[in-house]
Structures are given as structure tokens and as C-alpha cells.
């Protein structure tokens, strides 16, 4: 009986706290402790959300942002894994290149945006390039690390089996680097979303980032909050999906 109670008490308390926070939000807005220009009520936010979604307007904006994020992320993952495999397998390349990569990594990706604007202009391609540039680092460095830490005896196995370098990368290297690469890809997904939003704000591309900026400028707080909620949902769903995929792909490792 007590065990059953404790099994349910954890989620129950968790849900209760979330509901409590929602109620607090509702009370604060109802009493107007905070000006409604800054903080719309939960009901107003919900209405703006339902309204925008049913008219299809918010759906289009969400799709725009998700598409940008996904393309940039896929591009970054491909480049990161391919380059990472190349640099990771060669001790020489690692010694020559890795210090430079480690120095570039902490550079805020958004700082590259002005350069990209100057080179490419205010276009969707610019946003995509910046997302790919910013999101490539976690994947690239994690993949290099994954390749660099391959058990030395596996190299010997590869030599004994006379695997070509490409076959070695595909059959031994990639499966070994996969856990690292996937962890990097999860991080770069977050980076992709952030850069997609900033890119939309700066380059006025159709998407949620631009929409919430306009909502703020036009003092439409309910639309602003609806956009922020949707961006939170995008972050939550993409991260959850990727974590589930990661668990599935790495199932062989847990055995």
C-alpha cells in the first residue's frame, strides 16, 4: 500500500507544482500585479495559441522555424561526422588541426552572423550557413574524440583483416564513435534552434523568431507568449525524440 502510494506521489507532486505555478500566473495577471502589457494571462496566451493554430498562421511559422533548424542540423551533423571521421582517424591531422578547432569552438556562433550577412546577404542561405557553422562544433569535436579513443587493438584487427581505410571507418570507427557523435548531435540540435531564431530575427525570415519580435514591437503580449510557448514545445519535442532515438540506436551497447 505504501509502496503504491510512493509510486504515485512523485508524479502527483510534480503535476501539482506545475498546476500551482499556472494558478500563480493566473492570479498574478488577474490581480494585475504585473502590467498585462508585459504578462498576459494564461487564458489569453492559450487563446492566442489556439487562434493562431486554427487559422494556420502559427502552424506555418512553426514549420518555417522547424524546417530551418532541421536542415541546418542535418547539414552540421553530416559535415561534423564526415570531417570528424577524417581528422579522428589520422594522428597527424589531429596534431595539426585540433588546437585550431579547440580555439574556434568557444566563439559565439552568432558572432559569425555579421560576417555571413556581409558575405551572403540577408537570405535564407545565410541563416542556414550560420546554423550549420554553429552547430557543427559539438558533433565535429565529439566525433574526433570518438575516433581518437578507439581501442588500439581494434586498429590491429583492422590491419589483420586487411580492411581498407574506408571499410575501417565504416565497420569499426563509426560504430565506436557513435555514442559520442550522438551526444554531440543532441547539443547541436539546441544550438540549431537558437541560431534559427536569431537568424530569423536578424534577416526577417518567415518564422517564429521574427513573429515574436514583431509581437513585442506591436505590444501584442499574448501572441508573444504563444510564440515562446511554441518554441519551448519545439525544443522539448525535438530533444525528447532525439533522446529516444539515441537510446534505440545504442541499445546494442547496453547488452
Amino acid at each position: 500500500m505504501t509502496r503504491r502510494a510512493s509510486r504515485w506521489s512523485a508524479p502527483a507532486s510534480s503535476i501539482a507544482l506545475t498546476l500551482g505555478l499556472l494558478v500563480a500566473w493566473a492570479v498574478i495577471t488577474q490581480r494585475e500585479w504585473v502590467s498585462p502589457i508585459f504578462l498576459p494571462s494564461p487564458a489569453a496566451t492559450f487563446n492566442a495559441l489556439v487562434d493562431g493554430l486554427s487559422r494556420g498562421e502559427l502552424l506555418g511559422l512553426t514549420a518555417g522555424t522547424v524546417e530551418r533548424m532541421a536542415y541546418g542540423w542535418v547539414l552540421a551533423s553530416f559535415i561534423g561526422i564526415a570531417l570528424g571521421a577524417l581528422i579522428g582517424t589520422s594522428v597527424t591531422l589531429r596534431a595539426w588541426l585540433q588546437p585550431m578547432l579547440e580555439v574556434i569552438r568557444p566563439l559565439p556562433a552568432s558572432a559569425v552572423m555579421p560576417i555571413a550577412i556581409a558575405l551572403i546577404g540577408l537570405s535564407p542561405a545565410m541563416v542556414l550557413a550560420v546554423i550549420a557553422f554553429g552547430a557543427v562544433w559539438p558533433v565535429l569535436l565529439a566525433t574526433i574524440h570518438g575516433f581518437a579513443s578507439i581501442e588500439p587493438r581494434l586498429h590491429e584487427v583492422g590491419r589483420v583483416l586487411r580492411l581498407s581505410p574506408l571499410a575501417f571507418v565504416c565497420k569499426i570507427g563509426l560504430p565506436n564513435a557513435l555514442p559520442d557523435a550522438l551526444a554531440g548531435m543532441r547539443l547541436s540540435l539546441t544550438v540549431s534552434l537558437i541560431l534559427a531564431i536569431v537568424g530569423e530575427m536578424l534577416a526577417s525570415q518567415q518564422g517564429l523568431g521574427q513573429a515574436i519580435l514583431q509581437a513585442a514591437r506591436a505590444f501584442r503580449p499574448a501572441d508573444l507568449f504563444a510564440g515562446v510557448v511554441l518554441l519551448g514545445v519545439i525544443g522539448f519535442v525535438s530533444n525528447t525524440l532525439l533522446t529516444a532515438a539515441e537510446r534505440r540506436v545504442l541499445r546494442w551497447k547496453q547488452l
Partner: protein, 255 residues
Amino acid sequence: MKPDLRGLAVPAALMVLAEAGMRLNQVQSDALARPTEVAGALWQAVRDGSVWLSSGQTLWAALAGLALGGGLGLLLGLWLGLSRRAAQASTLSVELLRPVPSVALIPLSMLVFGFGSGMEIAVVAFTCFWPMLILTQAAVRQVEPRLLEVAQMLGFPPLARVTKIVLPAALPRIFMAFRLSVGIALVVGVTVEIAANPQGLGYALMNAQQSLRPDLMFALVLWIGLMGWGLSAGLLALQHRWFRHSLPGGTGGQS
């Protein structure tokens, strides 16, 4: 120990190539600048003090935001780490709020605080709150349970238990969380300035791009990169010095 110069060779070679190529082809561009021009622009910005002024603004906003958000995250993380029930109750709310991308709050912050340090501090604080919360909670969880039993046996009051046992034991990991958060704070600060806030290094960067000064633009990107790299290298050195023996692997924990 001989320093490995191979890592320096590649960037140096790239610079020489860029310089030579642009001189030979007599490139006159609004988007590109020769490395020597970039160095000249940086030297001038350092001498006339403009880069110090904007660095000061960026650093102040980033560190104030870190102190505010990171401090709150630290306190809450300590509590959630110590109390299983509090941790369970917070799970859902944390999981729902954490994925909201930090930059999505730029328009809201703009609406509430207007332009200036306030909005930037608010966005940085929101961003730094989460890693400090999660990592502090994890750090406290990993405190040897027997230490807590000892404290209980000695009859320490709760506050003394935290200050005398938990904090010292969790400090190495908390410092690691702090080091990560400093990097995040700087990145987010620059991003907020690039996207909206007219002050600091990010704004100077956007300004250089818009006034067609590619030399200054690259100089500022270089400066931001050096600053971020210097900060993270300095903190990493401190971590090695203070906590070398108390982190897993005895190396001070590279991750």
C-alpha cells in the same frame, strides 16, 4: 616539454595565404579584409579605447546575469539535491521550462526592460539558471552519503550540514558548472547584443558590418574569440590548480 607548434602552423599558413591571395588579386571588398588590415583595425580599436568600452558593457551584463541566474540556480540546486521530495515535485516544471530557447526571451525582455543592460542581464540570467540548477543538483547528489550520516551523528543543524559538509564536498563539480556557465553567459550576452540590444561587443560588431568596415568586423570577431578562449582557459587552469585531486580521473575533469 616542447610546445607543439604544429597547431599554430595551420592558422598561420591560412593567414599568409589569405594575405597573399588578396594582395595579388587586389581584392577590394565590403565583406573581406586582409589579415594585416584586421590587425591594424584591432590595434586602433584597442588604442582608442572603444573595444574596452564595449567589452566592459558585454562583460558586465554577462557576469551580472550569471551572478543573478547562476546564484538562484545554485541555491535551488542545493535544495533539490538535498531533498528528494523537492526534486520529485520540481521534475515536470523543470522539464517544461528548461527547453525554452534563451533567445526566445529577447523580445519579452525588450518589452519589459527596454534597451540597455537590464534586458541583457535578464536573458543571461534565465539561461545560466538551468545549467547551474541541474549540475549543482547532480553535484550534491554525488556527495558521499556517509559524510551526511556523520553530520547527522554529530548533530549538525541543517545549515551547518550544508556549509560544512555538502558545499565543500560538492565544490569541485559546482566550480565546473560555474566554468561552463561563464562561457554560456558570454555567448548569450553577445547574441542578445547582435539580435537586439544596442550596446557592447555584439552591437559594435553589427555596426562594423553595417558601416562596411570588414577589417573592424573581423577584428571584433577575433577579439570576442580571444576573450572567450582566454576566460575559459583561465578558469580551466584554476580548476586544475584547486580541484585536481577531487575530480574523477584526478586530472581535473576535461569535460
